[in-house]
Symmetry: C2
Subunit: 337 residues, 2 copies
DNA sequence: TTGAAAGCGCTAACAA
DNA sequence: TTGTTAGCGCTTTCAA
């Protein structure tokens, strides 16, 4: 039984309208409607205009599923965030939002939509069906990466570039970040530096590497106490422990602003002055650090740019074009500490 | 021409396998495969098991578009974030991530996927085709809400509940947040309070309302200087200006932790002690505030819970069930300020 | 408990 | 420049 649609040109909101219906209303075929709505040059400009206006007037809603089925693509990119539901997230701070902003901006303007997902409880079919995947935060363990790779989709990872020659990774220049921190300490005449961070984490390991190399050229070897976590309290704890055993340090480079702030707190509690007795540098240049008292010197990375880059690379992979890992620049923002 | 697939039971990764193929391999019909994979009770348990194992072994990938086309739903919820690409975001702080976490968690376990999007440059068809929409941050202007409403999809908004009787809104109890702040000031014996925030913003207006009412019961009327923005520097600026004109206040309630921190900075720069001379309360209970020196007293809201609730309500609407606006509790976290 | 038929709405390929 | 045909892969009738 055919619907009485075409006989009723003014349709109510919520009515369901297809290209075939529009075709009938316009006195053309469905494929012409399809072409017109996609701005195909194959269709007469006037016809095209007429059809587009008709569609607009009739409140036509394009059916994405039908197109995707036909084209065998989902026009979708899954963004996998390592986001624990607990308070202490793996991805500390607000930066994932900037990353997401950049990604979303770029993918949207390319006509792709962003499927946000974590890896909790196995991925949905719709996620696995994405045309490409962006993995945010490989974390300390790289299970996430292996799991996602199994989906067999084009994939780009945000993280430590050096670790994965086989993967396309976008990351910022962590090694240079470490070097910049070292150079500042050297310029300030500091000779007993500490690195605070967990080098099981690829990005942190790179920061330590750059730090250590730059110091090594001056015959200096930093202390590297272990830290349990990436939180303020973990930073404070680690520094308290450190002060008990090696009270002699005069500079501290933390792998995140959170850790740095914890460290400063512990230092002050133990009567050390910042920056007079101990110079401190953080990482990520978060508002948290920038507004802290004393304002925290930190290594800046541009997450929005990073997001855009990640998006461009998945898109390239999806289109079958080549893409390579890329390292974004970092710079040091000098503040009071 | 039929594909030679069924004659080759071990298939390579990347090969394309349909239910019909599985059916042939299993010696059943496609519909039986469909039922088996959906755990339909209509299919013999043994057959079901056999088919599921076969699918697993063959690396079968379910085609979401086909199902969606057939079912006329997208199994997708669009989350619209008012997220400017600029540094100063509308949604301040890291909280949207928690909200997203809660939303994602709940929708995913219901089999829906999360389409993340901003409103930049008009929405994609796939976004408009979502089965439901969650709007995060109605902002000061409510254009976003009106625009999204035009899509004609079930919609739930995160924001100020009182403003929109016609919409389903989830928000936290901003009015009570304001009341709690007022009560703390009263208990501390403060008599000259200030509210710092822009009441064009619905949520802020509610906070001011609660604050003002509780104070009014004691015959006290707060000062309400205008603030240009939701940033640290805007907070500092506003307080500097305030000190010039009305230097006599002894308590300050800010509509966000960021503003509060800016305020504290300005106070200290002008020789006021916090909390001795001026008691300060922030909003959102961010790590930023909690780790500030002095640690900031703040009103806490649970964003993860809020996200879960938002998700449940769109799901209800999508299923045609009733749903109502809801207000989440807030509480005060007392710290040094 | 299983299957056959039909069709969701769109677009590539080919034809006119 | 426009149209016809066919089919993407799935699931809801309805029938056996």
């Amino acid at each position: 039984m055919s619907r009485p649609r075409a006989s009723n040109p003014t349709r109510k909101a919520g009515e369901h309208l297809t290209m075939a219906d529009l075709a009938e209303l316009a006195g053309v075929s469905a494929i012409t409607v399809s072409r017109a709505l996609r701005d195909s040059p194959l269709v007469n400009p006037e016809t095209r205009q007429r059809i587009k206006e008709l569609a607009e007037r009739q409140g036509y809603q394009f059916n994405v599923s039908a197109r995707n089925l036909r084209l065998r693509r989902s026009m979708t990119v899954a963004v996998v965030v390592e986001m624990k539901p607990t308070v202490e997230r793996q991805m500390s701070g607000p930066y994932p939002l900037d990353l997401l902003g950049g990604i979303s901006q770029e993918l949207t303007s390319a006509g792709y939509s962003v499927l946000l997902t974590s890896l909790q409880g196995g991925a949905l079919p719709s996620v696995q069906a994405a045309d490409g995947v962006i993995l945010l935060g490989q974390g300390a363990h790289e299970d996430a990466m292996h799991q996602v790779r199994r989906w067999g989709r084009p994939m780009v990872v945000w993280g430590a570039v050096s670790r994965h020659e086989s993967q396309i990774v976008v990351g910022s220049d962590n090694q240079r970040g470490g070097k910049l921190a070292a150079e500042r300490f050297l310029a300030l005449g500091r000779r007993r530096p500490v690195f605070l961070g967990d080098d099981a984490h690829g990005e942190f390991a790179e920061r330590l590497l750059g730090f250590r190399q730059a110091l090594g050229a001056h015959g200096i070897e930093p202390l590297t106490p272990s830290v349990a976590n990436f939180t303020v309290s973990a930073g404070a704890q680690a520094v308290h422990a450190l002060l008990d055993q090696h009270p002699q340090f005069d500079a501290l480079f933390a792998a995140s602003d959170l850790l740095a702030i914890g460290a400063i707190r512990a230092l002050i509690e133990r009567g050390r002055r910042v920056p007079e007795d101990v110079s401190v540098i953080g990482y990520d240049d978060t508002p948290l650090g920038a507004t802290y008292l004393p304002p925290l010197t930190s290594i800046h990375q541009n997450f929005v740019d990073a997001g855009v880059l990640l998006a461009r690379k998945v898109l390239a992979l999806i289109e079958g074009e080549p893409a390579a890992s890329e390292i974004l620049p970092t710079h040091l923002v000098a503040r009071v500490t």
